[in-house]
């Protein structure tokens, strides 16, 4: 049976060792702050084929010209229509669509009358790199498309300024601040990096220093070792996140609009997934150096394919498939939804489920691979 005394002994030992290893300790606190400052700069891209919904208040030839122009520009992919502002808002919040374009009722008539009516584009600007390029190009795209339909008696309108105006509404991140977007995502990356690496290294250290031989010559059970070694690093994750959120608020004024509990549960699940991954890595390597290399190897896809660096919706299908299998992808969505879009527990169910599945798979493989012997 599992012994509480042995588990506590492993836990205590781990804390003592952590406290004495000053450099690692400093690194665990220093990395989040350093990364936060480094990543304050954004990497801008110009993605295309972004999911867009239409709120059709008018179906005349000019309206259709606007839509086909947007479609032909290849920036926007139309998924369908929404009936009202609530539905539009819901679609943006869930991440189903990045844009909603609203063509107001009587648009066509008012264009002909020369009223310069408003076209409203609502963009999910919590990811400004995704929205930026498309929004920038919109004016030109639409003017040109509409200009071609204005023939005959309306040809006069094609001259001069466009016969309507475009209003862009940036939902969730009104200023289009890149830092606002990148900071919640960065938390996912920092936790992926430090949690996985520290756990893998802490376990392999026992093998490398030879202390594993004495440890497993005692009656200690694998579960006591695993939980006893992992738990201290969960606390490290708490400290890191606290420091990070504080610094983010202070330096970049990043909001935290959503439910704290939703963040809390998502965060805990994500930390545990990462620790399990670190444990898995430790079963595959022999030295601390290898553990670090392998951890970095798993980190790279998390940076590139999770939607952190490049917008998820702009990636090709295979890359999205890989990204979906990464825990960072889901946690990144949780942090963006909760911090920037004010989401609550109900909005992150899909991500929580995905993290749960990933955790189950990793834990299963790790326990299969853990050796209670030296061979």
């Amino acid at each position: 049976m599992i012994s509480l005394s042995r588990f506590l002994a492993v836990l205590t030992k781990e804390f003592i060792q952590m406290r004495r290893d000053r450099l690692t300790f400093a690194m665990m606190i220093g990395i989040p702050i350093m990364q936060l400052i480094l990543f304050g700069y954004a990497i801008n891209t110009n993605p295309r084929h972004l999911p867009t919904l239409v709120m059709m208040g008018d179906a005349g030839p000019v309206s259709r010209a606007v839509l086909s122009g947007m479609k032909n520009s290849s920036y926007f992919d139309f998924l369908g229509t929404v009936s009202g502002p609530e539905e539009a808002d819901q679609a943006l919040r869930s991440g189903e669509a990045l844009f909603v374009i609203s063509i107001p009722a009587g648009f066509e008539r008012r264009v002909v009358r020369g009223d310069r009516p408003d076209l409203l584009l609502t963009a999910d600007a919590s990811d400004p790199t995704a929205a930026g390029g498309a929004v920038g190009a919109l004016n030109a795209i639409v003017s040109q498309a509409v200009g071609e339909t204005l023939t005959g008696p309306l040809a006069g309108l094609a001259q001069g300024p466009p016969p309507f105006s475009i209003t862009v509404h940036r939902a969730f991140n009104p200023a289009g601040e890149t830092a606002t977007n990148i900071v919640p995502g960065l938390l996912a990356i920092i936790l992926s990096m430090t949690m996985v690496m520290i756990t893998a290294v802490a376990i392999v250290k026992e093998t490398e220093r030879g202390t594993m031989e004495t440890l497993i010559s005692t009656p200690v059970r694998p579960l006591e070792v695993m939980v006893g070694k992992i738990l201290p690093y969960v606390l490290v994750g708490y400290v890191q996140t606290g420091v990070f959120l504080f610094a983010a608020r202070l330096l970049f004024d990043v909001p935290f609009d959503g439910a704290v509990m939703a963040f809390f549960w998502g965060f805990n699940l994500f930390v545990i997934v990462n620790l399990a991954l670190g444990f898995l890595i430790s079963t595959a390597v022999r030295s601390q150096m290898q553990a670090m290399q392998l951890s970095f190897f798993t980190l790279l896809p998390s940076i590139l394919l999770s939607g952190f660096m490049f917008p998820f919706s702009g990636m090709p299908g295979w890359a999205q498939a890989v990204g979906t299998a990464l825990p960072a992808t889901h946690f990144l969505r949780i942090t963006r939804k909760v911090m920037l879009k004010g989401a609550g527990m109900g909005d992150i169910g899909g991500e929580m489920l995905a993290l749960g599945i990933i955790l189950a798979v990793i834990t299963f493989i790790a326990l299969m691979r853990y050796r209670q012997t030296l061979d």
Binding site: K13, I16, R209, G210, P219, Q372
Partner: protein, 338 residues
């Protein structure tokens, strides 16, 4: 359950006629085999260790001593063979074995970044010992580390690390001690104290399997098993080994021994020439050849010749050389003693 312990009449392995008493041996392994990749490191190893015995485990570097010990306490899974340790199956019941075995590793493997006391305390908790504080205090007292108990283990000198490791292995009062070169790097006084302790434990019924490269330690063991290239070459009571091997040794004392040794070197029948302090030991297996070889020098002035029983060291060097020949020559049958 058909097999009950008292009724079983056991065939004793031929090698150890020394302990024919009916008691169940503490360690009994048969045909133990271990390979790493395609390299067989331990090959068909048999051993039977009676309760309370001090069993010396000897062999050259890389012969498979550590590997064998690890298999006995469940740290390595054998590729072949079977056995019991303290009555438990070494493959299936390693958990029970670990509760009652004290294993001291060859390489220091306590936590260097924990203090001496923290290490002992950790081990005490691993075995869920009662009266932990008292036991740890007593161990510190015995080790003579009481005033340094708050020093990091990694800061101890090599010999002190060994002593601490031994103390940690004995903390839970195991029935069987597996000691892998426990005295490597330990000073003579501490080594003597250590062996006094081993004898005391053995008198109390603790069984000790100890690997060593020191001959003065080997002669203190009740039994010796000698292993080379993964095969056991001999396994007998320590005192009977030279006689069993049948090596003949002459001891020469006097002047100009260096020249003498050079002249005798390579002569048929002369297998080994070794220097022992101021004397020379000349050994060989074939009595007539050896006598013929040394005959011309026996009446030299200033040297005295004396035939004597071969020492353990000569015997082991002889066994090692022989097993190497067998190992090197393909097709030769290894491990066959003349």
């Amino acid at each position: 359950m058909t097999e009950q312990k008292p009724a079983v009449t056991e065939e004793k392995p031929i090698a150890d006629e020394g302990h024919a008493q009916g008691a169940e041996p503490v360690i009994r392994v048969e045909g133990l085999t271990k390979s790493f990749g395609d390299k067989t490191v331990v090959d068909g190893f048999d051993m039977s260790v009676p309760r309370g015995a001090i069993y010396g485990f000897l062999g050259p570097n890389g012969s498979g001593k550590t590997t064998t010990i690890r298999m006995m306490c469940g740290l390595l899974t054998p590729n072949g063979g079977s056995g019991t340790c303290l009555g438990f199956d070494i493959v299936k019941q390693s958990r029970q074995i670990k509760e009652r075995v004290g294993y001291m590793t060859q390489r220091f493997s306590l936590y260097e970044d924990l203090t001496i006391r923290e290490n002992l305390d950790f081990m005490a908790r691993m075995y869920r010992l009662d009266k932990r504080r008292q036991r740890v205090d007593a161990a510190l007292e015995d080790l003579g580390l009481k005033d340094r108990s708050h020093q990091l283990a990694g800061q101890l000198s090599g010999g002190w690390k060994q002593r601490l490791a031994l103390g940690a292995a004995m903390l839970h009062e195991p029935d069987l001690l597996l000691l892998d070169e426990p005295t490597a790097g330990v000073d003579p006084k501490a080594r003597r104290d250590f062996w006094d302790e081993i004898h005391r434990l053995s008198d109390r019924g603790v069984t000790v399997l100890v690997s060593t490269h020191y001959m003065d330690e080997a002669v203190q063991c009740d039994y010796i098993a000698y292993i080379a290239y993964g095969k056991k070459l001999i396994d007998a009571p320590a005192a009977k080994i030279p006689e069993q091997v049948g090596l003949i040794t002459y001891r020469v004392e006097g002047d100009h021994l260096v020249e003498l040794s050079r002249e005798l070197d390579g002569k048929p029948g002369v297998e080994q020439i070794a220097r022992f302090g101021s004397a020379l030991h000349i050994s060989g297996m074939d009595e007539t050849e050896l006598e013929a070889a040394i005959a011309p020098y026996r009446n030299r002035e200033g040297v005295t010749w004396q035939r004597q029983r071969a020492g353990l060291e000569e015997v082991f060097i002889h066994l090692m050389a022989q097993s190497f020949d067998n190992f090197a020559a393909p097709g030769a049958k290894p491990g066959e003693s003349p």
